[in-house]
Subunit: 207 residues, 2 copies
């Protein structure tokens, strides 16, 4: 069995729990999933390792990757580049892993435009009020930051309909199982089953 | 809960077991699924009831349905019309049922062209040899009929890649569960979740 993996992009409001979902998915199915490692030009923080949390690049290196079309998507925030190097993702897909990317909506739509077979999933709490309560409940952010996140959520909500699936994160474990099921079943989409279809056609020729 | 149902089209080689899968699906989840009833101009056979096995129509009635764009798809075989009346399908979808149609490939592609959100599933045994063995094993058809079915399979195999999913029928019960899972998850495709997305957007406006 040497099936190619599915490229899965997760986006979701800050506070949606998407990070936890991805972490649990990978913990529970480490033989199936690989998490994409982003590249950045910002400096490593205490304890961050090159190739684990990020691939750390100089601006020159990063711009060379862009020029050589070696980035799936990238963006510049506050003077630093962030992006997804193609090489790592393609290596893992070819090894048969389903590769999971956590990126914001603009990046997600860019990836989908380049790779239409990408599975785009948008994670959200059941309601806007629950989103607010979760952000508030963390107790780690002041009101101004929370207001900013809610404003950001409004912008992101405008493009949810461009995603393939919307996933409601009510109970985290149910949600993880649900996401796993959706990704698993995606392997039976005909675009991922070209080998099976070819084998059937070939098998039928002798009759 | 007043969600609109999913329109599901099943096709598959003669001998794929698609009829059994659909029967079991509907038996096990009669609250979820409704089977579309076809219309035909052929005469009822012994025991067939109007509105159950088929809607029996005169040629004039059938052609009126066609002219009024009231058929999802139709075809003429050996002088008799066969087709899927829209009214019944739409009624059941609006009642929240997932409506299952069993139609051949040409009809399936016509439905998909008209209703892009239709879920097209193609059912097949694991291999062409197993298909042949199953047809042979039935013991009800002579070699000429089996040869015709295999030839028909070749034609149908050419359009499998136009379907959304290919479903391998190896173990029938596993296959039924798998199909049910795929249909269930289809409800979380964003196209079927417009209400949820609108509610989220509306909820966010107050922040």
């Amino acid at each position: 069995m040497n099936k190619k993996g599915v490229l899965v992009v997760f986006s979701g409001f800050s506070g949606s729990g998407k990070g936890t979902i991805m972490k649990k998915l990978i913990e529970q199915h480490s033989d199936t999933y690989a998490l994409s490692v982003s590249a950045t030009t910002r400096n490593p923080r205490e304890g961050e390792r090159d190739g684990v949390e990020y691939f750390f690049k100089t601006i020159t290196e990063f711009e060379l990757l862009i020029d050589n079309d070696e980035m799936l998507e990238y963006a510049n925030y506050a003077g630093n580049y962030y992006g997804t190097p193609k090489a790592y993702v393609e290596k893992k897909l070819n090894e048969g892993y389903d590769v999971i990317l956590e990126i914001e909506t603009q990046g997600a739509l860019k990836v989908k435009a380049k790779y239409p077979d990408t599975l785009l999933m948008f994670v959200t709490p059941p309601t806007a009020d629950i989103l607010y309560d979760r952000l508030k409940g963390r107790g780690t952010e002041d009101d101004e930051v929370i207001a900013k996140r809610m404003a950001q959520a409004k912008v992101e909500a405008e493009v949810i309909d461009k995603y393939d699936y919307i996933v409601i994160n009510d109970d985290i474990d149910e949600c993880v199982n649900h996401v796993h099921e959706i990704i698993k079943n995606t392997h039976d989409r005909t675009v991922f089953r070209a080998d099976t279809i070819d084998a059937l056609k070939k098998g039928l020729t002798k009759y």
